[in-house]
Structures are given as C-alpha cells and as structure tokens.
C-alpha cells in the first residue's frame, strides 16, 4: 500500500475502510466533517461501501447501529456536541452490544475553535462503559481505528475513537496496511437487541461484568507504554493524545526523559498507572480536554505520599487547548526566546459573513422590521448565520445548540416576549427544528420562525441539506403551520422594502408564522461557476 498524506480525520476514515467498513454515517460538524467527506470520495458512489450524510447525529448513530445488527462493520462520526444528540442510541448500544464492529468517532474541540463548548468525550465513553482509543498522531489514528473494529467485535460493544481538533485538522504521512474484507450478513440476536426491562437487565449485567476485561485489554494494549527512568524517581509523567507530543517536544533537546506513561486507551490501564506511581514521588498528568485521567488518579482522597500535578492544582490551565509552551511551563523549563511586537497594535480579524451572503440581506430586513418593536427578541441557532451576533448586524441574542432557537422562541413567547423570533438555517432545521416547530404549530404560539434556506450546510464546507426549496415549504406546511402564514422571501438588496413588509405583517399576526428566506449560498454559486469553467 502506498503512503498517503492525510488529515487526522482522513487517517481515521482510511483505517475504517481498510478494516472492512460496510456502512458509515455522519452529520457535518467541525472538526469531524472531513471524515465523511473522505469516505464519500473513496466509496465510489456507494459501490465499495455506504458513506452517507444523515439528517442528524442520532439518526446517523442508529443507521450505523442497524449495520452492526446485520453483522457488518459500521462507523458513525461526529463532533463532540453531536454525541449529545446521539447520546440516547449511544448509551443503549452499549447495552444491546455490537454485532458487527461498531466504531464511534468523536472529535472534541478544546479551545472551541468552532464550537459552543469544549466537552470531553472520554466521559461519555466512561459513562456508557465502552472502550475508547485516543490517538496522538496520524499513524495511530489509522492503526487505532482499524484495531477499534476488532476490539468492538471481540468485546461485543461499541468502541469510541476520540480525536481533538489539532489531530483532526493536521496533515501528515500515513503508512496503510493491507485491507481486510467486509463481513458477511449475520443478524444479531433479537432478545439481546430488544431492550425490554427483562432483556436490558440481563444485558446491563453482562456489560458491567465485562469491565474487568476492558481494563485488562488496556493494560496489555501496545498503544499504552510505560518507560521507567531507573535513575530518576522524582518526577513521572502521564500523558495522552496530542498532549504526549507536547511533552516530547519539550524534551527533544534534553539528555534523558523522566519516567513516562503514555495513555492511548480507556478505561485506564490500571497496572501501568500503578507501575508509574509506585516508581516516582511526583506525577504530572498532561491531557487535552478535561482533567479526566487526573481525576481518576486523585480520587477523593488523593495518592498517599505522592504529589499529583495537573489541571486541578493550576499547574496546567483548566480551559482551552494545550500548546508546547503551556506544557513547557508545567515542566518547569525556561521559556524559549521569542520575538515581541513593539508598540504595534494588531487589529482583530474575526470571521464574517461573505460578501453577497443571503443571510446578510435577511438580517438587514429583519433588523429594520424589528425597529418598531423595542421588546422583541431574536433567538438564533448554529450555522454561518450565528455571525449575525457580531457587528454590523447585532441581530441575534442567543445560540445554544442545534434547533434551540424554535423551542426557546416558543418558551419566550409564552413568557411574554413579543415579537418572539427564531432564526434557523435549513440544515439545522432538518437536524433539530422539525419537532419544536410541530410543538409550536400545535399550540399556534404567537411567534415568527425565520428559516434561512441557502440550500446547503455552509459553515462546514458545503454538504447537502435535507430541507430546502419546495420540499422545505411542504415540510413546514405538513407540520401544521397555516398556509397563509408560510411566506417565502428572496433575501436580495433589491427586495429589502418588500421583505421588511413581509416580516412586519407576520409579526402583526397573532399566531405562528414561518418566513423562509430562500437564496443559495454565494460560496456554492461560486463553486458551481468554477466547475463549469474548469
């Protein structure tokens, strides 16, 4: 097999393909989107295996679970907050167990480069009591994903692969191995997969009894490694994932390394951890994300006679991602010499809506229409249009999670907010907006939902949407919104006055209305033009 230059995300995807993947499902989300984009490119239109965007992460998870039930190897990938959406099938799939290998890839985003929080998915793996791999580089991302499928089948449970932005979006060389064939069709056992209490109790007991086996597997995994420095017992380091790289980066010009335990799997390899702790006086824990290993290590009572250093005692920051220099400081090394700006003041260059973006025109009209209503509130959602929170628009007052705008606008309206407005994109609407709109339609709540239909998942690079154009209008009608109050407008500068009027009329209607602002994303228009020329 030829070496390839791959993103961390792509290394995971290639590992899955070579592990005999039959079906992969995902919903776009930074930093995980490139996993599915790569799979789609390599699937040859579904001839090699199924690689498909799903309407949301829960659906993606359930589709993958169906493949696993059928005995074939399945992968579901998502960003960290996507696992919140898929948490229901995820937790329960640990109880049904996996038939064909089931691998859940979750990309965390420490520092929130493109997210609302920096939750650490290792807690989910622990919560569900499943096995978890955490690669530190591209080759490991490939190798661990391959092994994750084997472990999943061996233990009969789903296995998580935890990535972080720095690995997902870093590119390097990967040496692939020979591909494995796909599994043949072999159904799961119905009574294992039917979680009636009588079955679920039996299955849950099996899962809990497996936990010792998981720890044993972690202890003997070749991806975990303990290297003791026999001469030096003062400091030992436990490091995982990309944090391990930052430690080594700082020791590259040092004559010797302290005792080190590299952790790449969870649950923790307990024998290896004990081996390190026994050998040293102080243990420094370096990990990307929450202090997961550190908390497990400290417990409530701490380690008698030992000092544990890490995020909980302020040795390392509790928030944001790590860097080589943050770790250097924690190691007590002198900072490297670096340049500094004189009295020059840099101007920030925050992300912004593209020139000609339809959302900009929609916000201009909405802002104008709302001028007459000082008590109004605009609840918004997740997508490019969240940038409407920034100047010059200052158009929205909330962004919480996928689909929250509509439910919050309903709650707000019921508490007395008027006009109560929700702004949501077409793909976010398909993902999590249908059910709250059904609820608002049933109650005919006095609120206005604005669906910004740019016919694409724009923020994550242009993936297909499930709710756009005529289909979207029919969906909204089908949910019970009155036809007279489903308005389609075209957000263009020339339509500004007309669009302001349309918004005003719907604010004046004392019931539920939906305004669909429909115009294609300018990036997509450009892409299409370029491919026509090229």
């Amino acid at each position: 097999m030829k070496d390839e230059i791959l993103l961390g995300d792509e290394a995971v995807a290639l590992g899955a393909i070579h592990a005999g993947l039959s079906g992969a499902y995902s919903y776009p989300g930074t930093p995980a989107s490139e996993i599915m984009e790569f799979l789609i490119r390599r699937s040859d239109g579904g001839k090699n295996f199924i690689a498909s965007w799903s309407v949301n992460e829960k659906v993606a998870y359930e589709e993958a679970l169906g493949v696993s039930f059928a005995g074939k190897r399945a992968m579901v990938s998502m960003k960290h907050v996507g696992l919140n959406v898929a948490a229901d099938p995820f937790m329960n799939s640990a109880i049904t167990g996996a038939n064909g290998g089931l691998v859940v890839v979750v990309a965390d985003d420490p520092s929130m480069h493109s997210s609302q929080n920096e939750q650490d998915s290792r807690f989910y793996a622990q919560f569900a009591q499943v096995f978890c791999f955490e690669p530190s580089n591209h080759q490991e991302a490939y190798d661990m994903t391959r092994e994750a499928f084997d472990v999943s089948e061996e233990l009969g449970i789903p296995v998580m692969v935890r990535l972080v932005t720095r690995l997902s979006h870093s590119r390097s060389r990967v040496q692939p191995g020979p591909p494995r064939k796909q599994n043949t069709l072999q159904y799961g056992i119905g009574k294992d997969w039917t979680l009636l209490p009588v079955n679920a109790r039996r299955r849950f007991k099996i899962l809990t009894e497996k936990q010792k086996e998981l720890v044993g597997l972690a202890d003997k995994s070749g991806f975990n490694s303990l290297e003791l420095n026999k001469k030096n017992t003062s400091l030992g380091i436990i490091a995982s994932g990309v944090a391990f790289n930052y430690v080594l980066e700082n020791y590259k010009d040092q004559p010797e390394l302290p005792s080190m335990l590299k952790i790449s799997t969870y649950p923790l390899p307990e024998t290896l951890v004990a081996g390190l702790v026994r050998h040293v006086e102080r243990v420094l824990v370096v990990e990307e994300g929450y202090p997961f290993i550190e908390k497990n290590l400290r417990g409530i009572l701490g380690l008698p006679g030992k000092t544990v250093l890490g995020k909980l005692d302020g040795h390392l920051p509790l928030t944001g991602e790590l860097s080589p220099e943050i770790v250097r400081q924690a190691l007590g090394m002198k900072p490297r010499e670096k340049l500094q700006l004189d009295d020059f003041k840099l101007a920030g260059r925050p992300p912004q809506l593209c020139a000609g973006c339809p959302h900009a025109d929609a916000y201009k009209a909405l802002n104008k229409a709302l001028e007459a209503y000082p008590q109004s509130n605009v609840f918004s959602d997740i997508g490019c249009y969240t940038l409407g929170a920034l100047p010059p628009y200052n158009a929205i007052n909330s962004c919480v999670c996928m689909g929250a705008s509509i439910g919050m606008a309903k709650g707000g309206a019921e508490a007395g907010v008027y006009p109560s407005v929700a702004v949501i994109g077409d793909s976010t609407f398909a993902h999590s907006g249908l059910t709250p709109l059904l609820s608002a339609a049933e109650a005919n709540t006095n609120m206005t939902v604005v669906i910004l239909d740019n016919s694409i998942v724009a923020m994550t690079g242009g993936q297909p949407t499930f709710a756009s154009g005529e289909g979207l209008v029919r969906m909204v009608g089908g949910l019970g919104v009155k036809r007279d109050h489903i308005r389609v407008i075209e957000p263009l500068p020339k339509n500004l006055e007309k669009n302001i009027q349309a918004f005003k009329e719907e604010f004046e209607y004392r019931g539920l209305s939906v305004v669909i602002a429909s115009r294609e994303c300018v990036q997509e228009v450009r892409k299409k033009k370029r491919s026509e020329i090229g």
Binding site: Q340, L346, M459, T460, G534
Partner: protein, 199 residues
C-alpha cells in the same frame, strides 16, 4: 535538518494551497512533515494560519512552539505580525506588502511595514502587482511561495511539480499563470535581497 514555517493570511487567500505544494514536495524528498490547519468557522474571511513543520527526523508536536519558527510566510502584511512571537530571533519573514482590508480598523500601513522591518531577515514583495502581472490576482499565494522558495529546504523543481499537480484539474492556463507567479515571486525576492536594498 528541520524547518518550521508559519503560513499566514486571510480566509480565501489560498494558504492551504501553499501548504499542499510544500507537503508534497517534502514527501517527495523523503522528509517527515506535520501541517496543522484551520477549518470551519474561522475560515470565513477571518485570520487563518497553518503550522508547517519539515524535518529529516521525528516531529512530535503538530504546533510549532513559540520562538521556534524558522519562517513566517504570509500572503498579507498585517497577518505576518499576528504570529510574530512564533518566530525564532534568527528567523525570516517573507510577506506580501499588499494589504487585505476587510475590517474597519486596519492599522496604518507604514506602522505595519516598520514593525515587519524590525526583523533582521525579511523579504517583502508586492504580491498583488506581481500576481496581476502573472495573469491573475488570485495567484498571490503562488507569488509568495516563489518569494519564499530560495529560503526553503526543498528543491525548486519539486515545488514546481506540485504546483502543476495542484492546478492541472483547473486547466493548462491556470497552471501557466501559477508557475509564472511563482517565478516572478522568486525573482522579486532575489532582487530584494541585494545588499543595496535598504527596504
């Protein structure tokens, strides 16, 4: 042998295309490399950067430690300063002098340039003018790659090869424009480095 490079610019200026060419040339020359990049929300007209590390040895961190970059290669002058503290005191700045103004508070250009000139080794070229001369204002990234090329630990012919690979799907005309942009950038940088140049 190692070279750590910060690539800088504004979303849409094509710094990932520069990275593609360097990555592939490095692979061709048997070097190890890691290249951390920015995707998602930050790309939309915002400041973007990529950490590109080349070495004939193992590379650990995907991020370049502050103070260790051998080069800042920027397609935009102010953006070259955003990552100033990554540059080693012996490092070189290769930057465009053509500002990309999409913010209301863009600083005074004289101040930007005089800050860049506090770095001992620097190459400043007018990428916009040169790119237009090559045939497309969009080729500023390849102008800057050309301007940096004499200071890279990679062979020129390998860089040229992957410029061809990169633009081939978009037609021979674009390949020619970008190869020309590279050559003109390289020449402009060589002219700038003459001892007579005080700029």
């Amino acid at each position: 042998m190692k070279q750590d490079i910060i690539l800088a610019g504004v979303g849409g200026q094509g710094i990932l295309s520069i990275a593609f060419v360097i990555d592939n040339a490095a692979l061709r020359e048997g070097l190890t490399f890691k290249q951390a990049e920015v995707h998602g929300m930050a790309q939309r007209g915002g400041a973007v950067q990529s950490h590109l590390r080349l070495s004939n040895d193992k590379i650990f961190s995907d991020l370049i430690p502050r103070g260790e970059a051998d080069m800042i290669l920027s397609v935009e002058p102010m953006e070259s300063l955003r990552y100033f503290d990554y540059l080693s005191p012996e490092g070189i700045v290769v930057t465009s002098s053509s500002p990309f103004v999409n913010i209301p508070d863009y600083p005074d250009m004289d101040k930007v340039l005089s800050q860049i000139k506090t770095v001992k080794k620097r190459v400043i070229v007018d990428s916009q003018k040169i790119a237009q001369e090559a045939g497309s204002a969009r080729a500023q990234n390849m102008v800057m790659l050309g301007a940096a090329s004499a200071h890279l630990i990679l062979k020129k012919e390998n860089l040229l090869e992957y410029i061809r690979v990169l633009f081939a799907p978009r037609g021979e005309k674009l390949v020619e424009i970008n190869l020309k942009a590279f050559e003109l950038g390289r020449k402009a940088a060589a002219d700038k480095l003459r001892p007579s140049d005080k700029g």
